[in-house]
């Protein structure tokens, strides 16, 4: 199946943090023929191992399976469901959204008082999730309790749509885009040993990556992500973070990590050499699994490659398909050239120099 088809399939599945089984089962069905070993750990991470053909560092590739969503916290006497958010969802995003609840995918909608009945302060004031509830069409608590339970996980119910100029609109692009890319990357074999980790509970505190990296003990880790993008009318250029269609975004720093400068230089050099477009993420907001993986063991060289996603953490995120394809290309090319890591935590010089000279021949400039 093509990478894009896989991505669409993955975004149609539900995997709110703590409840990633559906997504994990699908991913496993897609990768098990391509990897040499795999296991699921106690937290629910899917860890796959693909042996290398030669030498190289021990590389962990990370994409998180979980998405933001809701959880039912209370069933009211009128049959409406109160809820809490799981992961960062803005209250304003919730209004008027279709959802599905629990294993049986009970349909529901997050309603609000009709505009006709709102007074002016209600119309202009901020939406507060405390005033919102999920309507599953039940007439009272008894009917509602027959279908859902407190603690049930709630996902947005939106199917992916290809539209416009090579764009994909879907829920959960953060981070099914990374999962789909990682599946594709695992189809090839590289010199180095690869541990493809599909992690859980990123959205509620980078949790899965902690136990996954403890098992893998990597030298190098590359995190594949969906990231913030605000290339919209009225946005100041310095506030855009990333721009759709301008290539995968490389993080220099965010709230969770300052990425390894050697690995970042390798990524940009490979991108230039192979003519793969890329951009830097130009804000330091957000966090990724890289923040956890970096401080595992005696330290890990980490980097983040991310697809810009407009309206991230909503059921209608939008990405450019070319950014996704270029993320896969860049990751594959980097894996082909990644040098050994020495005991001092730096890339081994010989390989590094070879790499620099290769790039210099192409008219590039030296490492900073």
């Amino acid at each position: 199946m093509s990478a894009l088809e896989n991505l669409k399939k993955l975004t149609a599945l539900d995997g709110v943090s703590g409840d990633e089984k559906q997504v994990r089962d699908y991913i496993l069905s897609q990768v098990k023929d391509y990897v040499d070993d795999y296991w699921v750990d106690n937290l629910g991470n899917l860890i796959t191992y693909k042996k290398g053909m030669g030498s190289g560092p021990r590389v962990m590739l990370d994409a998180h399976m979980d998405e933001v969503g809701l959880m039912v916290t209370q069933i009211n006497s009128d049959g409406l469901l109160k809820f809490q958010t799981v992961g960062g969802i803005e209250d304003r995003v919730l209004v008027g959204k279709r959802v599905r609840i629990g294993e049986n995918k009970v349909p529901g909608v997050i309603g609000l008082k009709p505009i006709h009945l709102q007074d002016s302060t209600e119309r202009t004031g901020a939406v507060n999730k405390k005033r919102l509830a999920i309507d599953i069409g039940a007439k009272d608590r008894e009917q509602a309790e027959a279908k859902v339970e407190v603690g049930d996980i709630v996902s947005f119910a939106y199917d992916p749509v290809e539209f416009g100029d090579n764009k994909l609109m879907a829920k959960a692009l953060d981070d099914r885009v990374g999962c789909a890319a990682l599946i594709e990357i695992l189809k090839e074999r590289y010199e180095c040993d690869i541990y493809g980790c599909f992690t859980v509970q990123e959205e509620i505190g980078l949790k899965g990556a902690k136990t996954a990296s403890f098992q893998v003990m990597p030298d190098v880790a590359i995190v594949l992500e969906g990231t913030t993008c605000y290339d919209l009318p009225g946005a100041e250029k310095q506030d855009m973070s990333t721009r759709c269609g301008h290539g995968p975004a490389l993080t220099i720093m965010d709230r969770s990590v300052i990425v390894d400068s050697e690995l970042l230089a390798l990524l940009t050099d490979v991108a230039k050499l192979k003519g793969i477009p890329y951009q830097y993420k130009q804000t330091i907001s957000g966090g990724t699994d890289a923040g956890r993986i970096q401080v595992n063991g005696t330290g890990v060289k980490v980097a983040v490659i991310a697809v810009p996603c407009r309206y991230i953490h909503t059921p209608v995120s939008v990405m450019d398909i070319s950014d996704f394809e270029n993320m896969i290309r860049l990751a594959k090319e980097v894996l082909k050239t990644i040098p050994q890591v020495g005991p001092d935590g730096r890339f081994i010089k010989a390989a590094e120099e070879e790499h620099i000279s290769l790039y210099k021949e192409e008219g590039g400039k030296e490492y900073a």
Partner: protein, 328 residues
């Protein structure tokens, strides 16, 4: 030690870009220990071999700073913070990049109320005429540190980056005094403390010491109308009871107090409600590592002119020497 403080505070080293400061410290430690190594996080781990207990002493070598996030058409730079940077401290300061380029931080003046200014409304002016001109000097992702002289005056030292180059200088001085002990001493100069106590985590995992101390600065409560805190400049090094990241192990804390009293070393007790130290990430590493701290009372932490007392620093060296020489 004063000379080392002057050198180290003026050496470039924001979190994540500690290469220069690490090289500088390596030069000063080279002849004082048996082995020096680094790890993937860039920690500088200097080992004085011994057959006794493994004691880790951590001082972080990174400093606060800024990172360039965007360069506009006219050559002005937008930036984000590295470590805790209150906007009112940043305003009007000059910063220096690793390549020596200097910039001035100012703000968009059309703001209605200066109270609303935040880093997003500020920019750095490096005197460039255009984006192209600016990109010859600075690139997105480059980091800079704040500028500020280092002055010794009336027994005090006033400088940028005393947090935590004064801790680094104390460890170097301790190593120079070559403590008389069988204990194995790990002088660890850690990275990325200011962005989440990160280097200390991997350093401690690699060492798994029997005990650890963080040597860092702590706040004081001795300036006009400041937040109350029972620590004063010049009253001696502060033995950590707790900060926001750690509660000191009682045996470590008690041992430090006992040694200070037995040897007539002035000391104070530190309960710092804001701010954490490397001890916070060390003590939960591996199976748990008994950890504490010896802190240098410092005014105006994260300002471009911090102030500490040289006597406190010297007494910290004395106390640490007694600590590493102790039988555990």
């Amino acid at each position: 030690m004063l000379e080392n403080i002057k050198t180290l505070t003026q050496t470039f080293g924001p979190s994540g870009r500690e290469r220069k400061i690490a090289d500088s410290i390596r030069g000063l430690m080279q002849d004082k220990v048996d082995e020096i190594r680094t790890d993937a996080m860039g920690n500088l781990i200097c080992v004085k071999r011994g057959s006794g207990k493994k004691i880790m002493l951590a001082a972080h070598m990174d400093e606060i700073g800024i990172i360039v996030t965007y360069i506009d058409d006219k050559g002005f730079l937008r930036f984000g913070n590295i470590g805790g940077l209150p906007p009112f401290i940043v305003l009007g300061q000059s910063v220096r990049f690793e390549n020596g380029v200097t910039g001035v931080i100012w703000y968009e003046e059309n703001i209605d109320n200066i109270k609303n200014v935040n880093l997003g409304k500020m920019y750095i002016d490096i005197g460039a005429a255009s984006r192209e001109d600016a990109e010859k000097l600075v690139r997105v992702g480059d980091m800079a540190v704040f500028e500020g002289n280092t002055v010794s005056q009336n027994g005090k030292i006033i400088s940028k980056a005393l947090d935590d180059r004064i801790g680094c200088a104390i460890l170097i001085e301790l190593a120079a005094q070559n403590p008389d002990t069988d204990n194995e001493i790990y002088y660890v100069f850690t990275t990325q403390e200011e962005v989440g106590l990160k280097g200390a985590k991997t350093a401690a995992f690699g060492i798994v010491p029997d005990m650890a101390l963080a040597i860092d600065v702590c706040d004081t409560g001795d300036t006009p109308n400041c937040k109350p805190m029972a620590v004063k400049l010049g009253d001696g090094p502060a033995i950590k009871i707790k900060d926001r990241s750690v509660i000191a192990h009682p045996h470590i804390k008690d041992m430090l107090i006992k040694l200070a009293e037995e040897n007539d070393i002035p000391y104070q007790l530190e309960i710092m409600m804001d701010g954490g130290t490397d001890a916070g990430s060390i003590h939960t590493t591996a199976g748990g590592i008994p950890s504490g701290g010896v802190s240098i009372p410092t005014r105006y932490i994260h300002g471009t002119a911090e102030m500490a007392d040289m006597g406190d620093a010297e007494n910290a060296v004395k106390l640490l020497k007694k600590f590493v020489e102790a039988m555990f």
